[in-house]
């Protein structure tokens, strides 16, 4: 499952909404069933640990998206007020 990909810039927005709508248990179930995560390692990486990293990576992308949206919003406000001024 790809939470973020360079190919589709709209994906982060969709994934954040998806994350928020699923709720806690639903999210875990969804990720485990859909996720093709299979990692070969000589130690047991721990499926929960791999999951957590994907989640955090998603959180990071989500936070970046949120931050950039806020910046965009602020910029459009200033543009609007500048035009009126």
């Amino acid at each position: 499952m790809c939470l973020y990909s360079k190919a589709s810039p709209s994906l982060p927005r969709k994934s954040v909404l998806l994350l928020l709508s699923l709720g806690w248990k639903g999210l875990v179930h969804f990720m485990i069933s859909v996720n093709g995560l299979s990692v070969l390692a000589y130690i047991d990486p721990g499926s929960g640990s791999l999951l957590l990293q994907v989640l955090i990576a998603g959180l990071l992308s989500g936070l970046f998206y949120l931050k950039s949206s806020c910046t965009q919003l602020r910029e459009s406000f200033t543009r609007v007020f500048k035009r009126h001024a």
Binding site: V28, N35, V39, I43, G46, G48, Q53
Partner: protein
């Protein structure tokens, strides 16, 4: 696999990339053919040189050796790493030592990612202390980094480093002993349960310990396609390189935010040194120094080292010293001061002489026992004997037997009953020690040692002795040297 396990062998027999063995008494590492590509990448990418130059990874030289003629993985190369003078384990480290080991591991992971590699395991046993600093010793821990793959060693990092540090900082300093019984670090569900409730409000602990423990439990209950299935690629771009570097940074912040400050426990240096009049302390330093000059040891164990005053006397004379103490506060204070002074010859460690680190792990030898890591040239047992004999009811003859096993020579301080310290120990209990006096002490110790010199300290009834072990070299204590353990020579 050779049956060789022990202080030098450690856990390497579990690693498919290679293993550690002894050849002519020196530690070597075989690089298996299966690891050839990763090893060439380690060297070719410049990662090995970069880490060695920064003093993060142990240097090695490649040597030519004949292959083992028994059923072992085929060898690609043989390495001879620089020797580690004393092997120690995370349950013997103080808080700051574990913290430094954690920060070292993360620094290495960061460097590795930058050059296209990643750590495939993150155990605290990959780190040792040499010349006063933490150093990474597992050269074969690196594998090629596949962009987009999550970090397989993340769970181990949390269990070996973050969880014990959080527990030591926020619950109790003694919880590092959980590493003794849990070979793979503190289980996260246990850590989550033991940490105080307020730890959930720390963002980093909430994610890396509490949430981590929950996810481990949840995914353990569900059959998933995650259990090692052929492909080594995770879901496309699941964890980008940027996310991975952020994770490493976040873990480093989490570790650095955990603090522990030793309080003034009853054993700390301040109390100990106030017991001596200044001229007594000075004379004690002189006498110990003179004894060490006569013994000329290259290796010293300072038992009950407190904050290391006399360890420094030994180190100043060129000896490599391991300064053991029971109190985590003392070891911590000693370590912090050693780091400030940039002292390279002293290693402070936690040890309870009456209950020293046992051999544990596979075959009870994967982690070497305390006794098997000796004997040393000289043992310092200053201001110690009365604690063993009186507080711990150990007969003097048994103490002599123990000291004979760990050292070839001994500098020991006998503290008689009329000393205020012993009087304090006897204040609330019956005096069942009729033979605890100078004559009894000398008689018992002469069973195992030649008494070479004795000096009474001024303004005190304490006596300092210099002794040499009877009977020449003691039989080698290390069990893996015994005949059923293979080395390249046999």
């Amino acid at each position: 696999m050779p049956e060789f396990v022990g202080a030098e062998g450690g856990t390497s027999f579990r690693d498919p990339s290679g293993f550690v063995f002894l050849h002519q008494g020196v530690v070597h590492r075989q690089v298996n053919s299966s690891y050839q590509r990763d090893y060439e990448l380690l060297v070719g990418s410049g990662l090995y040189q970069r880490l060695v130059d920064r003093g993060l990874l142990i240097a090695h030289e490649e040597v030519e050796l004949a292959e083992f003629d028994r059923p072992l993985p085929s060898a690609y190369k043989f390495l001879r790493p620089e020797p580690i003078s004393f092997i120690s384990y995370p349950y013997e480290w103080c808080f700051s030592q574990l913290r430094d080991a954690a920060i070292l591991t993360l620094a290495i992971q960061r460097e590795a990612i930058a050059l296209g590699m990643t750590l495939k395991d993150c155990t605290a046993y990959n780190v040792q202390f040499e010349r006063g600093k933490a150093i990474f010793i597992d050269t074969l821990s690196f594998e090629e980094y596949q962009e987009g793959e999550p970090w397989v060693a993340y769970r181990q990092f949390c269990q070996h480093f973050l969880a014990p540090l959080a527990l030591m900082s926020q619950t109790d300093i003694r919880l590092n002993q959980l590493s003794r019984t849990n070979l793979d670090g503190v289980p996260l569900d246990l850590a989550a349960r033991l940490l105080p409730f307020r730890s959930r409000f720390s963002f980093s602990l909430a994610i890396h310990i509490h949430l981590h423990a929950r996810l481990q439990a949840t995914s353990a209950n569900r059959p998933s396609r995650m259990a090692g299935q052929g492909k080594s690629r995770a879901g496309e771009g699941a964890v980008s390189r940027r996310a991975l570097l952020w994770l490493v940074d976040h873990l480093e912040t989490a570790v650095k935010r955990l603090r522990w400050n030793p309080g003034r426990s009853a054993w700390s240096a301040y109390d100990q040194e106030h017991l001596y009049a200044p001229e007594t302390l000075k004379k004690k330093e002189e006498v110990v120094g003179a004894y060490l000059d006569q013994l000329c040891p290259s290796s010293v164990w300072d038992l009950g080292a407190n904050t290391g005053r006399f360890s420094r006397v030994a180190a100043d004379r060129g000896a490599r010293v391991v300064a053991f103490d029971l109190d985590p506060c003392c070891v911590e204070l000693n370590y912090r001061r050693l780091v400030e002074e940039q002292q390279t010859r002293i290693l402070p460690l936690l040890l309870d002489v009456t209950n020293p680190s046992p051999g544990s792990g596979w075959l009870n030898r994967e982690r070497a026992s305390f006794l098997s890591r000796g004997p040393v040239d000289t043992v310092l047992a200053l201001a110690l004997v009365h604690h063993l004999a009186i507080a711990n009811n150990l007969p003097l003859i048994r103490i002599a037997e123990f000291l004979r096993e760990v050292g070839h020579s001994l500098v020991i301080e006998f503290v008689p009953k009329d000393d205020p310290q012993v009087a304090r120990l006897l204040a609330s209990r019956e005096d069942v020690f009729p033979d605890y006096h100078v004559q009894g002490f000398e008689r018992d110790f002469q069973e195992y040692f030649e008494l070479e010199a004795a000096e009474t300290l001024p303004n005190s009834s304490r006596v300092l002795y210099r002794m040499r072990a009877r009977g020449g070299s003691y039989p080698d204590n290390r069990p893996w040297i015994k005949s059923n353990i293979r080395t390249k020579d046999s």
